[in-house]
């Protein structure tokens, strides 16, 4: 099968991943039917994960692994969770992608991986203080188009 990422892009990602400190675990949720971009999304993640030994990937199916999907609050395919991994412990940082991260969103994917690897949101103290006091969940959905 032809690769989605060419050698130049792989080199760029290698450079971007070079300063990565901590490990990142990606959970991918596909679906067998009515998912035009599932195969490409899965292949894209497999190619990205192969670039760094600090990255791991688990492939799930939205229907067959409904319990895992529910646990991570994933209800769309392709669905991607970018989580932290320390030893065998996977920590959910709440970062999700619904749909294939192609085009400009591929940059977002790489940046999210780096952000989770750094274990630091980069948010201001004021924002952190507010979020610490939250008593109800917050769901942010950022609608984007891949171009």
């Amino acid at each position: 099968m032809a690769t989605l990422l060419n050698a130049d892009v792989v080199k760029q990602i290698e450079d971007a991943f070079a300063p990565m400190k901590e490990s990142v675990h990606i959970l991918y949720f596909g679906q067998k039917e009515n998912c035009d971009y599932c195969d490409d999304a899965q292949q894209l993640l497999e190619e990205v994960v192969a670039i760094s030994d600090k990255l791991t990937l688990t492939i799930y199916d939205l229907d067959d692994d409904a319990d895992v999907a529910k646990n991570y609050n994933v209800d769309k395919a392709p669905g991607i969770v970018i989580a932290a991994k320390d030893g065998d412990v996977v920590s959910d940082f709440g970062v999700r992608f619904a749909g294939i991260p192609s085009g400009h969103e591929f940059t977002s994917l790489i940046q999210d991986i780096l952000l989770v690897s750094g274990r630091d949101s980069g948010l201001s103290q004021e924002t952190r203080d507010f979020l610490k006091e939250l008593t109800e969940p917050v769901l942010l959905q950022v609608f984007v188009t891949p171009t």
């Binding site: 709440g94 999700r96 948010l123 917050v138 942010l140 959905q141 609608f143």
Partner: protein, 55 residues
């Protein structure tokens, strides 16, 4: 407590039309409690969250 999801608007059109997505990026908070079109700086996001959560 916080989940942030990038949603591909073309792929999930039902959701896009539910929240009347007309321009991207659009940030929808808590199922439409707030909708912000365009890039949203952290301070604005914080203000929106404070506004919604105090209701």
């Amino acid at each position: 407590m916080v989940q942030a999801e990038m949603v591909e608007a073309m792929e999930f059109q039902q959701l896009s039309s539910k929240y009347n997505v007309s321009g991207v990026p659009q940030t929808t908070i808590n199922d439409g409690a707030a909708n912000v079109v365009g890039a949203i700086p952290e301070s604005n996001m914080l203000a929106e969250l404070k506004r919604i959560m105090s209701k």
